[in-house]
Amino acid sequence: MSARSTTDHGPRTIEAGAPPARYARGWHCLGPAEKFKDGAPHEIEAFGTKLVVFQARDSGALHVLNAFCPHMGGNLAHGTVKGDALACPFHDWRWGGDGKCAGIPYAHRVPPRARTRAWRTLEENRQLFVWHDPQGAPPPEGVTIPRIEGAFSDEWSDWTWHTVRIDGANCREIVDNVVDMAHFFYVHNAFPTYFKNVFEGHVASQYMTSDPRADMTAADTLSAQGRLRSEASYYGPSYMLDHLWTETGGATVETVLVNCHYPVTPDSFVLQYGALVRKLPGMSDEEAAQAAAQAAEGLATGFEEDIAIWRAKTRIDNPLLCDQDGPVYQLRRWYEQFYVDVEDVRPEMTDRFEFEIDTERAVAVWRAEVAANLARRGTGTAAGAGEK
């Protein structure tokens, strides 16, 4: 299986391509809704422009508008919430959450067509989402963010939340991870034993079972404690929910991770992630918060490992794959549906596709590597955890 072809085709040339000039159609999470409910406008740099998020004082609703005032270009994020409207700091023009000009205090009347762009919003799982569609259409039926009951339950911890901006990489890099079984071993010190992807409609799922690595300490790996089962799905181009069940000391710890991003420019994006943990029987709020913080810390370590790879790697449109790699090309075919006009979405982008990896070879090789690491450590040759 690992035999090389005897035909010499010459060295492979990487096609780096260029990141798409447009931004994906879909719901994008901007962060915890609570963060935007402090009475002040918040600037968000996204989709190659700037947006402003504010809470209408009277109705309490969250709104998203273009940040720049269509009057003279003032930045509304530096303005003030006045009633249900947002006032520009430049000339006090007032903008409602629907994008209509709600008043110009120094003018006799508001120009009849005075409107700015109001972005469609959604609050779910205590998070704020904004709908982006270059064609300006509303989300199709069924394209929404699923509700996570744990986000509203006393039986679960509160969300932890982290935000990090990645410069010099297109957000496709993070989506590629959905199919990348081997990187879990080499980058994240995990040990996948089962790995399957399913793409269908606007959802891309990853079903994985991962074992702890005997040559790693808890700090080195996401699944130090025990066998971990994970069901992760992207709902659209940028919002992933990952349900995890970890066996630890006779109990099963249930965790929900969110991994989401929004694009800033074609080669930068803001990555956000958080965790919820179901309280074990007898667990106090503090202990649950601690468990969630621990899960978030593991997640943070994982993303730091990914980020180090992204910062140093090249974009690659023609990855050279082996038999045991996941379906990178089919994942990108699925992902492309969000970058073309709706009328150009082809059936093969959304038809159900399943790919179950043969992990036999990888598991055997990885077992041997783990055993060798342990043996080397046992003989005191200073081989550290994490040595590759």
């Binding site: 399957k196 399913v198 959802v203 799922s205 038809d351 159900r352 596709f353 399943e354 790919f355």
Partner: protein
């Protein structure tokens, strides 16, 4: 290796299947999953496998109707 058509013994849906080895399976659907008794009604991609289609594929391998790459190795 090419994708080979397999017709599910339960719902008669035809899918395209590739087996690179016994543990590996690729399934490409070419129409909606709404006639599948195990997938219909669930969110898209939220069920990992239809066990009846899976059984059909495994039977096709046993019957020799579905070629598995690497068999001759």
């Amino acid at each position: 290796m090419v994708m080979q058509p397999v017709t599910c013994r339960t719902c008669a849906t035809e899918v395209l299947v590739e087996k690179r080895s016994l543990p590996h399976t690729t399934v490409q659907w070419t129409r909606a999953t709404s006639h599948c008794p195990e997938l219909a009604g669930h969110g898209p991609a939220r069920v990992a496998v239809c066990t009846r289609l899976r059984a059909t594929i495994e039977q096709a391998v046993r019957d020799g109707a579905l070629e598995v790459a690497g068999d001759d190795e």
